[in-house]
């Protein structure tokens, strides 16, 4: 029995020896190690990024905000960024090329231009869908395609053929020139209408007379030639990508298709709103003035209080105004907010985007009147007015503590009840 056991063990050992081997002929799929290939690839990306003489155009499409054209100039460690929003401003910060699941370009110190749409706040706790960590989809000297790690939006980079400022000035010029918000034409034999929302930079196209819910939407950006869609869009057998505006003929042209602009009812150009007004509230009337803040985008509403100006948004798509929740500033170390107020229910809020929409009924007269109504964002409540609230420094939330009279509106109180404005013709 014992002999048989030894015999079995001996046979098993012999078989083990016979089949064990050193696999000396490893088949190498790659001729270099992972580390070498990774560092070579990231070095190649850096070479491409730093190799563009004038830097790069950056077609940037944040998920929840309007697109913006930027320029990026890379050194080995830093990136200098400018944007169509202010072509003369450049801000430099750090970046690095990383490699985890794949190669990424990470803009890893803050840049107020590049990170603007990614930045959260009290009123937009998830930011505006911007990315600053991008997976590299493809890279070559002619183009770099990136995808945001968080929001998955695809952005494109192309080498700049001129200086950043001169290019972005062309973009600014196109932004000012293309104020078409609606146009009609024929596509694939059918009558269609296109809407261009300049505030959100959304192009939508649909059958004339159709509900807007049936329209096809795509983000667009303004480049040196005109409008470019986020990606080619097929509609009625036609493909739309680049669309230009012929200002002499007042036509919107996409290849062989020509659209005729339409001016929406109640539309007033940005410049028409500038000037002096009488504001009327339930607490009395007083003079105010709309001055340019950011051309084509916003105004300062002066005259409410010498310690602050209220910001008024110009809605390009409708040629109308909007006043929403905002911070008024800090007085005596206390922060004050202007909160949208439902004066019928007594509730107020401090949520971004909620406020009053202002529109002109008769745009044919010079001394037009602007009436304000709820802008439709505050569910279940109706904004009629604004009130001022001071912020609790511990919770950073508005409180019902007494507002310093120095911060009162010109109405003599912390409330701006049911405002309306009438333009003064001088």
């Amino acid at each position: 029995m014992k002999t048989r056991l030894y015999y079995i063990i001996a046979m098993a050992s012999s078989l083990l020896i016979a089949f064990s081997s050193c696999q000396k002929e490893d088949y190498e799929v790659f001729d270099k190690s992972v580390a070498t290939r990774t560092s070579e690839y990231t070095a190649k990306i850096k070479d491409v990024l730093t190799g563009a003489e004038n830097g790069w155009l950056f077609y940037y499409f944040p998920e929840k905000a309007a697109s913006s054209m930027m320029t990026l100039a890379f050194s080995d460690t830093t990136v200098s960024v400018s944007s169509e929003r202010n072509p003369s401003l450049t801000e430099t910060s750090f970046y690095r090329v990383t490699f985890a699941d794949g190669a990424s370009i990470l803009f890893d110190t803050y840049n107020s231009i590049l990170h603007a749409d990614a930045t959260p706040s009290h009123s937009a706790y998830q930011g505006h869908g911007g990315d600053f960590d991008f997976r590299v989809i493809s890279v070559c000297p002619d183009s770099v395609i990136l995808q945001g790690v968080r929001n998955k939006t695809v952005c494109r980079m192309y080498p700049l053929k001129e200086t950043s400022q001169s290019y972005l000035e062309k973009v600014r010029s196109n932004i000012d020139e293309i104020f078409v918000v609606q146009a009609t034409g024929k596509v694939g034999g059918g009558d269609v209408i296109v809407n261009l929302d300049p505030d959100k930079r959304i192009f939508s196209i649909g059958r004339l007379g159709a509900m807007t819910s049936e329209f096809t939407n795509v983000h667009y950006i303004i480049n040196e030639k005109g409008i470019q869609l986020e990606h080619p869009l097929e509609y009625n057998g036609e493909v739309f990508y680049d669309i230009r505006f012929d200002s002499e003929k007042n036509k919107l042209i996409a290849g062989n298709i020509v659209f005729d602009p339409v001016v929406p009812e109640g539309f007033l150009p940005y410049a028409s709103y500038l000037g002096k007004y009488t504001m009327t509230t339930e607490k009395g009337s007083f003079p105010v003035e709309l001055k340019q803040k950011e051309k084509g985008l916003s105004y300062y509403l002066g005259g409410l209080n010498p310690n602050y100006s209220v910001e008024v948004q110009y809605k390009k798509a409708s040629g109308s105004l909007e006043i929403v929740y905002q911070e008024l500033g800090v007085y005596e170390n206390v922060k004050y907010l202007m909160c949208p107020f439902d004066s019928d229910s007594g509730y107020y809020t401090w949520t971004a985007g909620i406020g009053l929409a202002g529109s002109v009924e008769d745009t044919s007269v010079d001394d037009f009147s602007i009436s304000f109504v709820d802008n439709g964002i505050w569910a279940n409540y109706n904004v009629t007015s604004f009130l001022i609230r001071r912020v609790d420094p511990e919770t950073d939330k508005p409180t019902n503590d007494k507002v310093d009279p120095a911060m009162y509106f010109a109405s003599g109180s912390d409330r701006l009840l049911r405002p309306a404005m009438k333009k003064i013709v001088e």
């Binding site: 190690s33 990470l106 890893d108």
Partner: protein, 305 residues
């Protein structure tokens, strides 16, 4: 026969043990190495002031894996990070060096700071100033707001702001870390055990002082209560503490006696567990914060001295 089998078995065992791929050699190149990042002037300053003396990684460049993906966050501003690094060094590290000795700081101060540009915002209006993890890492948020505060504020207003949003956060989180290393006595938990509010702390309208809580956030749970009490105490002076007790005792409330009972335990714990006199620590923190507000500390200098 048995003898041959035994010999064969012995040979097989020796051969198996001796069998080896003698030609296998380890590569000199690591397969997990990543792209190197060139050090800038601030990195070198950090090496000199944080890494070499204290083995602290002051991580100011954004890294997704260090952040909380539940929140939308952005990187810290480079210049603001320099300011924050100076504040942490002068107001926290140097403070503990002075009060508890450099060995204490080296042993217990967190080994990693991670900076983020904005606060971590919740959808209910609350936001997080910082967090402590595993006794080793402190995340500090709102770095980019610090830059604006330093530019706008001065004097007492700056001191109050620095304490409330930044430096108190470091002391608060460091308190969690030392608590995780040596727990505080259970009787602290019992003093106001029935009135903690958990997640409802920010919605509460009650007067926190009258209930024996130094801040609204202290009402959340005993762990935060302890850290708030300690960090608020050392970032204010005696007059402030007396004023809080005065408010806490108003309208016949027993908030003052509750606060004093809890503060006694905090002080005893710090003395018995760590040999730190909290009043001495408070004096040093206050003195150093006044130095910063008076402009005696160059918060932008990253030259190596």
């Amino acid at each position: 026969m048995k003898k041959y089998i035994k010999s064969l078995l012995l040979f097989a065992v020796v051969f198996t043990l001796a069998a080896a791929c003698s030609e296998d050699k380890l590569s000199k190149d690591s397969v997990i190495s990543g792209p190197a990042t060139e050090k800038n002037a601030f990195d070198i300053w950090l090496d000199y002031n944080f890494l070499k003396p204290y083995n602290i990684d002051f991580h100011y460049r954004y890294d997704l894996k260090e952040s909380n993906f539940s929140y939308v966050t952005v990187p810290a501003d480079y210049d603001a990070s320099i300011i924050y690094a100076h504040l942490v060094k002068y107001l926290c590290i140097d403070t503990y060096d002075e009060v508890a000795g450099v060995d204490f700081t080296k042993a217990y101060f967190p080994k990693m700071f991670f900076l983020m540009g904005e606060w971590e915002y919740d959808n209910n209006g609350n936001f997080t100033l910082g967090t402590a993890e595993g006794g080793k890492k402190i995340m500090l948020a709102g770095v980019n707001v610090l830059k604006q505060d330093i530019q706008k504020l001065s004097g007492d207003a700056l001191i109050e702001r620095l304490n409330q949003y930044y430096i108190k956060t470091v002391h608060h989180e460091f308190t969690h870390i030392i608590n995780q290393t040596k727990p505080y006595p259970d009787n602290f938990k019992n003093i106001t055990s029935t009135t903690y509010l958990a997640g409802k702390w920010s919605d509460s309208k009650r007067n926190n002082l009258e209930y024996g809580y130094i801040t609204k956030y202290a009402q959340k749970e005993h762990v935060e209560d302890f850290a708030e009490l300690l960090s608020e105490y050392i970032t204010h002076d005696q007059a402030w503490w007396d004023a809080q007790l005065g408010k806490a005792g108003k309208n016949g409330a027993d908030g003052a006696s509750l606060l004093i009972s809890k503060m006694d335990i905090v002080k005893d714990y710090m003395k018995a567990s760590w040999g730190i006199d909290l009043d001495v620590l408070r004096d040093v923190v206050n003195r150093r914060t006044r130095d910063v507000a008076a402009g005696l500390v160059d918060l932008e200098d990253i030259s190596i001295k």
